[in-house]
Amino acid sequence: MRIGVFILIALAAAAVAAEPPRSAYVVIVHPANRVSRIDRKFLAEAFLRRATRWPDDTPIHPVDLGPDARARIRFSEDVLSRSVASVRSYWQQRIFSGQGLPPPELADDEAVVAYVLGHPGAVGYVATGTALNGATVLEVN
């Protein structure tokens, strides 16, 4: 029941988000993922690979769009609260110090969708309007 209510709300939110001025991207997960809402902070942690496990202890596999993608820029600013360049710099630093691997950057939204669908623990974002193909959109609050 409660999940249903939560989905409803997520849908409502998606409807609202689908509006271009408001949200240019949607956050998607594998349909098997039972999470429907995600805390922005947790999402940022996941993308910076600081949080690595979902609440059900499955590993989180974040995936990025290319640095020039509009959704990427908006996501960086919204969720990570920093520029793409800053994020990339952050990762370069971590890559060579062996502290972690960045989410792979995929060439387009479809590739992201495909990746999400291919990895149960994956989480990604795509530009609003992209065909999701069954990927679950998470409500970000």
């Binding site: 290319g66 370069q92 890559i95 060579f96 110090s97 062996g98 960045p102 792979p104 950057e105 060439a107």
Partner: protein, 935 residues
């Protein structure tokens, strides 16, 4: 242990040194071990400790290199990471010691892998590949990176346990080392302590022995030596101290031996000191020796002149004991007398009967000591001992026997001397008594002889001078012979007496200032007749440089008389005798009498001045004489500090001389009045160069109461005439320096004596010679006293008749003589034969003078004088002592107080007496001149 202290000390030092060396070595070893541990830590662990951060930093630089290159999309920078990798690998290689080689290789490989993977990733990132493939490769790269980190960890991992182990190993080594050191130190210390204790114990023990020993030695206890406990230095010292103690003991015993010898010697010296009888010497020596040698009995036998030995001294020998006398060779004691060595007979008690001088006791030993003086046994000392005889005792006896022998000898000698001395003293006393008798006899004899002789001479003179009556020529000549012989006899008596005085040393001298020419003149006058008889001329030469002379005039006259009479005796008729007086040095003058006699052979010269020796002896004796004159002269001159001598040329003549002091020392004659001038008496100047004539005139005038001055030359006469006025003058016309006429002329020329009455005396009556001169009278020589006095009276110059003179003499002859003599000179005479009567007469008739003989019965001259001086009348009256007595110094002293003059009765009759009397008596009517000190 028999080790010297040197060895012990060396051992001690060596032990300490060894311990020290062990300590040092062990410390070094331990320190080395600890150091090894620490080095291990330093080399092995410390590099690891620093290597990890270095390698990590280096690796991080590689990472950052990639990071930077990717960030800058710079492939060049990317290429530079290879260098960084290389640096890393180099660093790794450098610290190969710290890293396990296997791990190092793995690490190298891992880094290479990482680098290649990172290079690939970086290249793709720069190529903007961001897909899954890149990420996958990144994952591989990071896996490689993790592997590197792991390997770094592994390679540089620091095993704390290992380090702790290393440290604890070092600490253990340190601790063990400390313990070993401590143990070694303690061991050394205790060893040194033990050694020291050991050494000091030995040393202290040795020292204690030594100290105790030295204290014993110091206290004179040499019996127990110092125990020698070890062969060390203290042992040596102890041995040497013991040797020293032995030497000291020997010295001590030697000293005590010497002491006892000395003790006996000094006891003997002490006891035998002083003047002891031989018996006392024997007893005392025995006493000392018996006491010293602890002999109960001893005896001393002395050798007789006949060789037998008699008991002289004894010590505890009973009087009845046998053997009081023996002869040499009889018994042991007699045997000892035949040898010089000390005989000691040692006898076991009660086994041997000894036949010796002492038959008492049962002696253990008998010592027989011959006492030897000048090689002769003079005594035997026998000592009996009840104890065994010792060498020391023999030695003591040997040292003592000479002392005893000498003492005994001396005592005997003294004994003999004493008896000899007693004999001698007896003889000397007898001799002295005999001498006294002789002196008394001589004195008595001279008095007894001279008293009658005096009378003979006096009366003869009176007769001879025609005072009693007119004489024929023959009578006069014979009387002259009587006078000459009498005077000669008187002189002989005087000489004998003088010689007696010389022999008894009682010749005394009374020096007074004298007029040398006058004395010579007086002697000449005495011998004038002799000279005239032999027709011998006598000349006199007195050097005025002699100056003042002070001598006993009587003695000087005696000397001169002897020489002169001798010269006259040996000078043939027509010869010449010269009397000369000249200075001899500053203090003496020389009196010489030259004659032209036969001379004396040189071999006879030494006998001249010897008593009783005459040159011509025997029956052919040509010249009279006793041989006393010259001997007496020598004695008299030498007694005054002078000397006599003679030189002679046989056939030519002889010169006798006497050297006399100008100022004789001796009892100075009191200042008796010498004045020839007296107040009130008429003063006559006699100018006469012939001493004999001068004397004659002076005596005649003086005797008549005139005051007389003389001059021998015209110059002297003029000098005196200038000085004062005279009452009259006699003048010889033949003067040596000028004629009497010239002198007369000069007198008349002026001066105080221009009107002087002058009586001319001349050999030839030359009345014409004085013609034209106012003279009172001219008289021819030889001069008659009466004529001269008459002439003076005619000239108005008369000596007044004077008062009474008291003459005191026990000899009637003398009284008569004096009465006649004084009467001629105008005196009354009161004669008394003893002092008592004289005192009475003096009180009754108040004489103007007293002539006093000293030797009288009952009240003698001295007593008379004392009593007379106490009377009112007698206090100032001149007293002339007229005596034959030889006055002693004491007599002179007494008379000096009371008498005015002393005149010896003698050959010149009463002339000298008259002269003295005139000196003290004034002319008539003139008060008696007060003498100094006369009250």
């Amino acid at each position: 242990m028999n080790l010297s202290f040197r060895s012990k000390l060396l051992a001690l030092v060596a032990t300490a040194a060894l311990a020290l060396v062990a300590l040092v070595v062990s410390s070094a070893i331990i320190a080395g071990r600890v150091e090894g541990h620490l080095d291990d830590i330093r080399r092995h662990y410390l590099p690891k400790l620093g290597l990890r951060p270095q390698l990590e930093a280096q690796f991080e630089r590689i990472q950052r290199g990639f990071q930077d290159a990717v960030a800058a999309s710079d492939t060049e920078k990317l290429a530079r990471t290879a260098e960084l990798k290389k640096e890393f690998l180099q660093q790794l290689a450098q610290s190969s010691g710290a890293v396990d080689p296997g791990l190092a290789a793995a690490l190298e490989q891992a880094v290479e892998d990482f680098h290649s993977k990172a290079l690939s990733v970086s290249t793709r990132l720069i190529a903007r590949e961001t897909g899954e493939g890149v990420v996958a490769q990144m994952g591989e790269m990071q896996a490689s990176q993790t592997r590197v980190a792991h390997l770094l960890d592994t390679a540089t991992v620091f095993d704390k346990a290992e380090l702790t182990n290393a440290f604890s190993a070092a600490a253990d080594a340190q601790r063990i080392g400390s313990r070993i050191r401590l143990g070694l130190s303690l061991a050394c210390l205790s060893m040194v302590l033990l050694l020291s204790l050991w050494i000091s114990r030995d040393m202290l023990a040795g020292m204690a022995h030594l100290t105790a020993g030295f204290r014993r030695f110091g206290e004179g206890d040499f019996r127990s030596p110092i125990p020698v406990v070890a062969k060390d230095e203290l042992g040596v010292l102890a041995r040497q101290a013991n040797q020293m103690a032995q030497s000291l003991q020997r010295l001590e015993s030697e000293r005590s031996r010497v002491d006892s010898l000395k003790g006996v010697q000094s006891a003997l010296s002490e006891q035998l000191r002083g003047e002891l009888e031989p018996r006392e010497v024997a007893d005392r020596a025995l006493s000392v020796l018996c006491r010293s040698l602890q002999c109960p009995v001893g005896a001393l036998y002395s050798a007789d002149p006949d060789g037998a030995f008699q008991l002289l001294g004894r010590h505890a020998v009973s009087a009845g004991a046998g053997g009081l006398s023996f002869r040499p060779g009889e018994g042991l004691a007699g045997q000892a007398a035949l040898q010089t060595e000390i005989t000691v007979v040692q006898a076991p008690a009660d086994q041997l009967r000894i036949t010796s001088g002492l038959a008492e006791g049962s002696p253990r030993a008998i010592a027989l000591v011959p006492l030897i003086r000048f090689g002769k046994v003079t005594a035997i000392l026998e000592l009996v001992s009840l104890q065994p005889w010792s060498e020391l005792s023999t030695e003591l006896l040997a040292s003592a026997r000479e002392t005893v022998a000498i003492a005994l000898d001396v005592a005997r000698g003294r004994d003999e001397l004493r008896s000899l001395l007693g004999e001698t003293q007896r003889q000397a006393a007898e001799l002295t008594r005999a001498g006294t008798y002789k002196s008394q006899f001589l004195a008595n004899m001279s008095h007894e002889l001279r008293t009658p002789l005096n009378a003979i001479l006096g009366f003869t003179q009176l007769l001879h001078e025609g005072e009693v009556g007119t004489l024929s020529g023959e009578q006069r000549e014979f009387l002259g012979n009587v006078l000459t012989s009498g005077r000669h006899l008187l002189r002989l008596i005087n000489d004998v007496l003088d010689l007696a005085k010389v022999e008894s040393g009682r010749l005394d001298f009374r020096p007074e200032p004298i007029d040398l020419p006058q004395v010579i003149g007086e002697v000449n006058a005495i011998l004038r007749t002799t000279a005239a008889d032999k027709n011998v001329r006598v000349e006199t030469a007195v050097d005025p440089a002699i100056g003042p002379v002070a001598l006993d005039p009587a003695r000087l006259k005696q000397v001169l008389y002897n020489y002169l009479s001798n010269a006259l005796k040996f000078t043939p008729s027509g010869g010449l005798v010269t009397v000369r007086a000249a200075p001899e040095g500053a203090d003496f003058f020389r009196l010489e009498v030259h004659d032209t006699g036969s001379g004396i052979e040189p071999q006879d010269l030494p006998r001249l001045f010897v008593e009783f020796q005459q040159l011509d002896t025997g029956a052919t004796k040509k010249h009279a004489g006793t041989g006393l004159g010259l001997a007496l002269t020598k004695r008299i001159v030498e007694a005054q500090g002078g000397s006599v001598g003679v030189r002679s040329t046989p056939g030519v003549g002889s010169v006798f001389h006497a050297v006399l002091p100008r100022q004789a020392t001796g009892e100075a004659r009191p200042a008796m009045p010498q004045a020839r001038s007296r107040a009130g008496a008429p003063e006559i100047l006699v100018v006469e160069d012939n001493p004999a004539d001068q004397t004659l005139i002076v005596e005649a005038l003086s005797g008549a109461g005139y005051s007389v001055q003389t001059a021998a030359t015209g110059a002297q006469a003029l000098a005196k005439l200038r000085e004062r006025a005279f009452d009259a003058m006699t003048l010889d016309l033949l003067l040596p320096d000028m004629s009497g006429v010239d002198l007369l002329a000069r007198i008349r020329d002026g001066g105080p004596n221009a009107q002087l009455p002058v009586i001319v005396l001349t050999v030839v009556a030359e009345e014409g010679a004085v013609a034209g001169f106012r003279v009172s009278d001219v008289l021819a020589k030889p001069i008659e006293t009466a004529a001269l006095l008459d002439a003076l009276r005619r000239a108005g110059v008369a000596a007044e008749r004077r008062g009474a003179v008291l003459v005191v003499d026990d000899d009637p002859g003398c009284l008569r003589l004096m009465e006649a003599t004084l009467g001629r000179s105008g005196f009354q005479t009161i004669c008394r034969q003893d002092g008592e009567a004289a005192l009475q007469a003096a009180a009754e008739s108040r004489p103007v003078a007293v002539v006093l003989d000293l030797i009288m019965p009952r009240v003698d001259g001295f007593e008379f004088l004392e009593r007379f001086r106490r009377t009112e009348a007698g206090r100032r009256t001149p007293v002339i002592v007229w005596t034959v007595k030889d006055l002693s110094a004491h007599d002179h002293a007494r008379l000096r107080e009371t008498a005015h003059a002393v005149v010896a009765k003698g050959g010149d009759g009463a002339v000298s007496l008259l002269r003295e009397l005139n000196t003290f008596l004034p002319a008539a009517g003139v008060e008696v001149r007060r003498e100094p000190g006369d009250g």
